[in-house]
């Protein structure tokens, strides 16, 4: 572990709260990046970063000094991001469930992720991909981001998500399969 991180943790646990500031400053940018990739939203990513450092502070006594603080807080951030998008998905489902009008339901989905027509008009391939990403479950999305963007191994993904390595691998497989099929349909429509 970074000696500076180790010293800062020791100081925090000794009662020097401000020492935690050095850890926050040192790891915020990386946490924001992964949080943004998982949530796809800047404001949500900032919330995730704050939540992760808050949880980290409360659990700091259980942190084992042999581990790397950066890895440890990264996993916490991934969990927070996963919880964030899971909560959003539940909110979306509940809002959809409240709607009795099928037409309204379809409109609401279109608002959440841009429709094909809008994609054609805007020509933003990123938006098209984001729509494909919306078909993934929170776990599949998070596992895919960690695998495809963050280049994490199945073991690291499993550790971050708190699941078995094989389950993490399966989540990545399902995510890739869904994305390929969804993107293939969108390409045809475009």
């Amino acid at each position: 572990m970074d000696k500076n991180d180790q010293a800062a943790i020791g100081a925090v646990l000794a009662g020097d709260k401000d020492a935690y500031g050095a850890l926050v400053v040192g790891h915020s940018a990386r946490l924001f990046r992964v949080a943004f990739r998982i949530t796809g939203n800047e404001a949500d990513a900032e919330d995730v970063v704050q939540e992760a450092f808050l949880r980290g502070y409360r659990k700091l006594e259980s942190f084992e000094s042999r581990s790397d603080f950066g890895t440890w807080i990264y996993r916490i951030a991934v969990r927070c991001a996963l919880n964030k998008i899971s909560g959003q998905r539940m909110d979306e489902n509940s809002r959809v469930g409240e709607e009795s009008n099928r037409q309204q339901h379809e409109v609401q989905l279109a608002d959440w992720a841009a429709g094909p027509e809008r994609l054609v008009l805007s020509g933003e391939i990123g938006a098209m991909q984001e729509m494909a990403m919306s078909s993934l479950t929170p776990t599949e999305r998070t596992a895919f981001v960690l695998r495809h963007i963050e280049d994490c191994t199945s073991e690291e993904i499993a550790s971050a998500l708190g699941i078995e390595p094989n389950a993490a691998k399966q989540a990545v497989f399902r995510a890739v399969q869904k994305l390929r099929r969804r993107l293939a349909i969108l390409r045809v429509k475009i």
């Binding site: 925090v12 646990l13 000794a14 009662g15 020097d16 709260k17 401000d18 935690y20 500031g21 926050v24 400053v25 040192g26 790891h27 915020s28 940018a29 924001f32 990046r33 943004f36 990739r37 796809g40 800047e42 990513a45 900032e46 970063v49 704050q50 450092f53 808050l54 502070y57 700091l60 006594e61 391939i125 990123g126 991909q129 981001v145 695998r147 495809h148 963007i149 191994t153 199945s154 691998k169 990545v172 497989f173 890739v176 399969q177 994305l179 390929r180 993107l183």
Partner: protein, 253 residues
């Protein structure tokens, strides 16, 4: 030839399989190679928007937003202050436990040993009493009867064939006579006690004749011990005994 599944192709793309075997298959199978190429193209097309850049002050802003809501940790006490009293308490409790266990063990051992000894004694009691305590019941009337017969034989004895039987009978009566004497003294029966004392002297004399009784010894004893008088006293005592009680009186050791 079995083609590679999509899962196998994905695993190979992310280098999570037996790369060498899959690579060999891809070289040999054009169909799988085409599928793998398509997969690679799709994965390459999946690009996420870059995260908005954060300036160098971002970390400080995050910290400022958090700092106010974080309580400071209690300073860790030194081992001496934090752990001395609990450690001493545990040590004292441990020592007390050991002492109690030791004393309890000793007490238990002591009691257990006593119990074992008692059981041992009970188990071996018949052996200890192996010759069982001898119980001699001497019935005074019988004793007087036997003594009378001995005195009669002595009175009429002339030596020879009666010498050894008399001596043996005297030895046999001697012990019973002592018991009766003792009992008579305890009952403060002077007549009986006096008669039995005289009889005792006679029996001792008779019993201690290693070579038996010859004519001279018999004659001497008849004179010295006044066998006739003693015989009379014994007969009187027998009569008194028979009259006083229909039940024989017994002396027991």
């Amino acid at each position: 030839m079995n083609h590679l599944s999509e899962e196998e192709l994905i695993a190979h793309a992310y280098a999570e399989d037996d790369s060498n075997a899959v690579q060999q298959h891809l070289l040999a199978c054009a169909e799988c190679a085409k599928a793998y190429s398509a997969l690679g193209s799709d994965l390459a097309d999946i690009k996420f928007a870059e995260a908005p850049p954060r300036d160098s002050a971002y970390g400080h802003r995050v910290w400022e937003s958090l700092a106010g809501s974080l309580p400071a940790y209690e300073p860790r006490k030194s081992w001496f202050r934090r752990g001395l009293w609990p450690a001493l308490s545990y040590a004292a409790a441990g020592i007390a436990l050991v002492v109690c266990a030791f004393l309890g063990g000793r007490l238990w051992e002591h009691r257990h040993a006593q119990t074992i000894a008692q059981n041992h004694v009970q188990q071996h009691e018949p052996t200890v009493q192996q010759p069982p305590q001898r119980i001699v019941v001497v019935v005074l009337s019988d004793h007087l009867d036997r003594s009378e017969r001995l005195l009669v034989e002595l009175k009429h004895a002339e030596g020879g064939s009666v010498a050894f039987p008399l001596r043996d009978e005297a030895r046999s009566l001697l012990e019973a006579n002592q018991i009766c004497r003792k009992n008579a003294k305890q009952d403060d029966d002077r007549a009986l006690s006096t008669a039995l004392d005289r009889l005792d002297h006679l029996l001792v004399e008779l019993a201690n004749q290693p070579d038996g009784l010859n004519t001279q010894t018999i004659s001497r004893l008849q004179d010295e011990m006044n066998v006739d008088g003693l015989l009379f006293e014994v007969r009187v005592l027998r009569s008194r005994q028979a009259a006083s009680s229909t039940h024989p009186k017994g002396d027991t050791i």
